[in-house]
Symmetry: C2
DNA sequence: ATGAAAGCGCTAACAT
DNA sequence: ATGTTAGCGCTTTCAT
């Protein structure tokens, strides 16, 4: 295993410049620039000659030079709060990033990923304000933290997930329709014959926690059913188990459960089983997120699928449109999808 | 929900330039540049005055301008083959990326993520060769594809995972020690009393597939045990199930199984159970990867943990050292760790 | 120790 | 339709 040897490169073949292309094609640099940027006013003959020279020299425009004069970096920053990065193994988040990257790979933009920790928050701000990116995407997980709002004055920003206090923010965001998704899951429970439906809600200071409870309540109200069987968890399996315990300890009959995410549903499963109750016979269960906590559970969990890839794609698209000055809605809602599995099979089936 | 409004910014506050700082501090631009870059020859008094001006004006150096003259972009490209991106939900991959990002966030480098599809491979090459990055990291999953080797002449590259034909490549890479990990898992099976141990190997044209089989054979040979109970899968659960079926159909006794990854182990589980055999009583099982396929299996799967975060970190570190011209080993091996769970509990325990 | 000046590679008026 | 020219903001000799 040898040592050494390093950052040479880039100098072996001193990269061809626009000027060299101009010389080779026998035209001015301005003309080459026009050809490269597909400007309207170039005669076909010359354009062809220039393109030939470009090909022959293997010319690639220097981005730094271009950025310097055009004031455009063609860079989009993806800001990942460190708390979210810790949950990196969360397939939801990874898929959102993939969606962003996929969309951008068809544009001239490049994706810059930043991990923003408390410590380095100043560094992140400086990076963003230092003209290093044309726009930023902020993905936090459940927090609804729109603390980069102020930066939006200098740089277009698009968030994944709505802000906590929507009325106080003018921020652009793309969000999953948590209310509709939760309502759909609840309605499904009702449609399969359940009447005494409880919910394990998420933290009410996190938008998804709040919205999913709202969706549950709405569906219950629509069916003229009571919706006071509510306990709260923090989206972890353990908290789901405890909430289920509290729910069962109330002594009221429960034949259906909507958990605000699959993890909590998984936690609830263990308690339900431990009390000698059967799923779905005694209690039908529906979750939210559609991840492996639900798909590998026994019985498999009915849940709400989030369009994570599309969410990422949409975030990138909204941001690019803002950067390019095209009109975009300030809020974009992504539809969810009900995934019916064994945990909500009707009793008579 | 309002419409419009867009890419303004950046002009509201015309970013302060080095020149403005110079004026404010009453010195020349050269001096400001020296202070910013911590050059040796600056008097404390002046340095202080300059720093004050920088703070007051909230000055941030313009990267494009800096890159243009210094020929350094401070950008590191992370190339993700699209085939890998599809497996994005794979926690292994996501965590590697996180490791990279985490390491870089303590440096002056920035992470640029590129999805390299077949279609856009030319675009990727141009990007890399166009001086848009100071170095590149290539993470493919299992493929051992080092097809960017040629670019290494112009740009330092570091791979995650060894090349398929190591002898033919001079590439820098960081890899998990698959041989040692597989050997450790197998040795553990042996240590817990198993003697007729089979393996479900991965594709032999993928380095991890090949290396894990080698590790298995080595451990068996060290214990003077036969190692001809080998069937192959393609790392998917289904292929694991089929391989297990073939193994069992051989009619030879099997009391232990090493699967080259957790997915295939999960597939094997179903066949073992379906044949009325018990885990670990009849057959003890060990996997590799340490992901949820194993941790959520029943009984929980003994497996080999890969230091994914550290792998990413190490890749970034090796690349940065190359870029900075510091010595680095061409190959870096990351140690694995045995995670003992219920699937290998000794019979007498 | 500090300043003056040149120039990195490109785009965008402006002129022709 | 094409060329000329003047910078973009910074680093870096070279003087002083």
């Amino acid at each position: 295993m040898s040592e050494m040897s390093s950052g040479r490169g880039r100098d072996a073949h001193p990269a061809p410049t626009l000027e060299m292309v101009a010389a080779a094609a026998g035209v001015s640099r301005a003309t080459v620039s026009r050809v490269v940027n597909a400007a309207p006013n170039v005669s076909d003959a010359i354009a062809e000659a220039v393109n030939e020279a470009i090909l022959k020299l293997n010319y690639v425009p220097n981005r730094a030079a271009r950025s310097l004069v055009s004031r455009r970096t063609q860079v989009i920053a993806l800001v990942v709060p460190e708390t979210t990065a810790k949950l990196f193994s969360d397939p939801f988040f990874a898929t959102v990033v993939q969606g962003v990257a996929l969309y951008l790979s068809d544009t001239d933009f490049t994706l810059n990923m930043l991990i923003a920790s408390e410590m380095r928050s100043e560094k992140t701000r400086r990076y963003l304000l230092g003209g290093n990116a044309d726009g930023a995407l902020v993905v936090s997980h459940h927090e609804g933290d729109h603390s980069y709002d102020r930066l939006d004055l200098s740089l277009p920003i698009v968030y994944g997930g709505r802000p906590l206090l929507e009325s106080e923010s003018e921020s652009y965001f793309v969000d999953v329709d948590n209310v509709a998704g939760a309502a759909e899951a609840t309605a499904h429970l009702i449609a399969t014959g359940r009447r005494s439906i409880a919910t394990i809600a998420g933290p009410q200071d996190m938008p998804p926690g709040f919205d999913r409870l709202r969706g549950f309540r709405r569906a219950m109200a629509d069916a003229r059913l009571r919706s006071d069987l509510v306990e709260y968890g923090d989206f972890t399996p353990d908290s789901g188990a405890e909430a289920m315990r509290r729910l069962l300890d109330r002594g009221e009959p429960i034949d259906g459960l909507f958990a605000a995410n699959d993890q909590m549903a998984a936690g609830a499963y263990s308690v339900i089983l431990e009390r000698g109750l059967r799923i779905p016979h005694d209690i039908a269960v529906a979750g939210f997120d559609n991840n492996y906590f639900g798909s590998t559970a026994v019985p498999a969990l009915t849940t709400i699928d989030q369009p994570s890839l599309e969410l990422g794609r949409a975030m990138a698209e909204v941001l690019v449109r803002r950067i390019e000055g095209k009109p975009v809605d300030r809020v974009t809602m992504m539809p969810t999808r009900l995934i019916v599995r064994a945990s909500t099979t009707p009793r008579d089936a």
